[in-house]
Symmetry: C2
Subunit: 354 residues, 2 copies
């Protein structure tokens, strides 16, 4: 089996070495040390500032998105949401559910988000911006520098869901002025699903979280941050995933963030460079190193997904709805090399030749 999916992704053998062991009891100083080491390494890899806060949540990425809105925004806010696919749209739905005023910037399918679209909202009293920096449903990587500049000039809080982009594309909380960074275990960290992380800026914490009562017990950032001081969580965490996270963060840290990102870039660009002769094409908008969306002019995308799955035990990521026939996404996250690209391109040629 080989996964070119977007979570779970192809895992590393070192993770299985941890997963196959008894999960320890966790209300101990030893486990606290593991959590605190994860916190330190996550802050380093995310370019976080010293007073930034790390929250470990046992939930999917959507849970972490909702937790962030619930804890950080309320009835006095007016937010801007980049809605260029199903994940951006989800941020808008979350604001809707919790009665947080918001406007959306719709990015039409196949088009890049432009500076003009964003600047139209300049000076209009928005208090925060919510974006899935790699809109995983389309693979579009939005311009983080442009969005960062816009937030800074408007004094807005900048919330970046980097679920598929963290450790795949360059993201730096300090340099980009990010106030909440969200990601999950099953993407570039290549662990099993079930753990999500939110890193809050010192500003977000002091202005929006500290001393406030959020309308949630499970997702209450204050109790997480309070327990986090001693390396614990208010409720039983995904203990096994936290041990796997410690190991993966050590691995990435030893490799170095630059080397990790360079590898991701190499694999993604290598894959895209091999498409000649397949008949498959790329979109025009900027792409994340996490995923390559491929256009199938003959409308046989879903059939190709199924053939790869059934005949070769190789999984690419199908699309739903209108795009099911014309687009599949090839994930590059996790344990991937150029050799995997060569294999997959060969399979595409074989299957499309049939």
């Amino acid at each position: 089996m080989k996964l070119f999916t977007l979570g779970p992704v192809e895992m590393y053998d070192r993770t299985f070495e941890i997963a196959k062991k008894q999960v320890p009891y966790f209300r101990t100083p030893e486990f606290s040390e593991v959590v605190l080491e994860c916190e330190r390494l996550l802050k380093k890899l995310a370019g976080a500032r010293e007073d930034d806060k790390v929250v470990f949540l046992t939930c999917s990425g959507t849970g972490a998105m909702e937790a962030t809105v619930l804890n950080c925004f309320g009835e006095n806010d007016k937010l801007l949401v980049i809605d260029g696919g199903s994940f951006g749209h989800r941020f808008a739905q979350i604001c809707e559910i919790h009665g947080v005023e918001h406007d959306v910037i719709k990015v039409p399918y196949g088009k890049a988000l432009t500076r003009e679209q964003v600047w139209e909202h300049d000076g209009k009293g928005y208090t925060g911006l919510l974006v899935n920096i790699d809109e995983t449903s389309t693979g579009q990587l939005y311009d983080i520098n442009m969005l960062s500049e816009f937030c800074k000039r408007n004094g807005m809080l900048f919330v970046v869901d980097a679920i598929s982009s963290f450790l795949a594309d360059p993201i730096d909380m300090k340099a980009h002025g990010i106030d909440a960074l969200i990601f999950s275990s099953q993407k570039s960290l290549a662990l099993a699903p079930g753990l999500s992380i939110v890193i809050l800026s010192g500003r977000m914490y002091t202005e929006r979280v500290e001393g406030k009562k959020a309308k949630t017990m499970y997702f209450d950032f204050n109790s997480h941050i309070e327990n986090g001081k001693r390396g614990q969580t208010p409720f039983t965490p995904a203990v096994r995933l936290i041990y796997e996270l410690q190991d993966m963060l050590r691995y990435v840290d030893e490799m170095g963030l630059e080397a990790k990102l360079a590898h991701m870039k190499k694999v993604a660009e290598d894959f895209r460079s091999r498409l000649d002769g397949t008949g498959l094409t790329l979109p025009d908008y900027p792409l994340s190193n996490a995923v390559t969306p491929l256009y199938f002019p003959d409308g046989n995308a879903y059939e190709v997904y199924e053939t790869l799955k059934k005949e070769y035990d190789v999984f690419v990521t199908p699309n739903g709805g209108d795009l099911a026939k014309t687009v599949i996404r090839v994930g590059h996250l996790g344990n991937h090399t150029v050799e995997d690209n060569i294999m997959l391109i060969e399979l595409f040629k074989k299957v499309l030749d049939k």
Copy 2:
């Protein structure tokens, strides 16, 4: 290492065989089959009715408790909460946070919940009762037949958090008229933490959930139940845990529920029968098969916990707060036999003799 803790607990080798494998892509008919089999076996083991609904949540037990209150109750309710320890108290706090009117029945530490305490609230317009049927912080097993009778005569919805009691004590959704049953992966199922399950009665679903909009996206039971029809979840689930769950449910089902409960009862009673000569004593209230709370008359409970941990790599469950010095809890959940009891009792004698 040997765990007599209350989650994570001592796991089975068969679980490690699954945990050490690549986590598969899950938006497939094959994974749907796994989820649907889990649903079928869970309903069977819980004594659920055919139209009961199973919700798989990626969260801790507290998340599932909060999700149940959020989806099933609101401003027209008046709930009764059994508060006999930190978990019962948590239900009251959740009602507080979400503005659900409620009264608590306080069970003083060391005392059994009485029929009189409950019947005082008879005929007073309560719409539901929330209970942690084994209050895990004290090990008290409340009388489910008595609470069930009270709910039936008052037409109340009966919410049973059976987090440590499911597959340890007899619980039958139909016989006990349970409207929501809550439990998690890291207790008697002996899996890693990170997956919680809520089973709703047909009545709870049609009266309280169907067609209603809960103020939550992540915990919205309607979207879970809708996706559940095809064996899927609205958001990325704890895929690895669901494979482990399938395996564990098959194991328990092959053994038979009666045999599983008889084994749990045997291990718990055997442990309690061996305390003579240790100087340790049991509380007077009824106990769950999940856990034995032990009273240390010399006030050295926490020291014993630490000695067992440091010198023998054996973990019992310490208490916090006022009870830290006088009480520890010995968990029997997971892969335990009478031999483990003999070993632990020997260690107690050795350590207490020092």
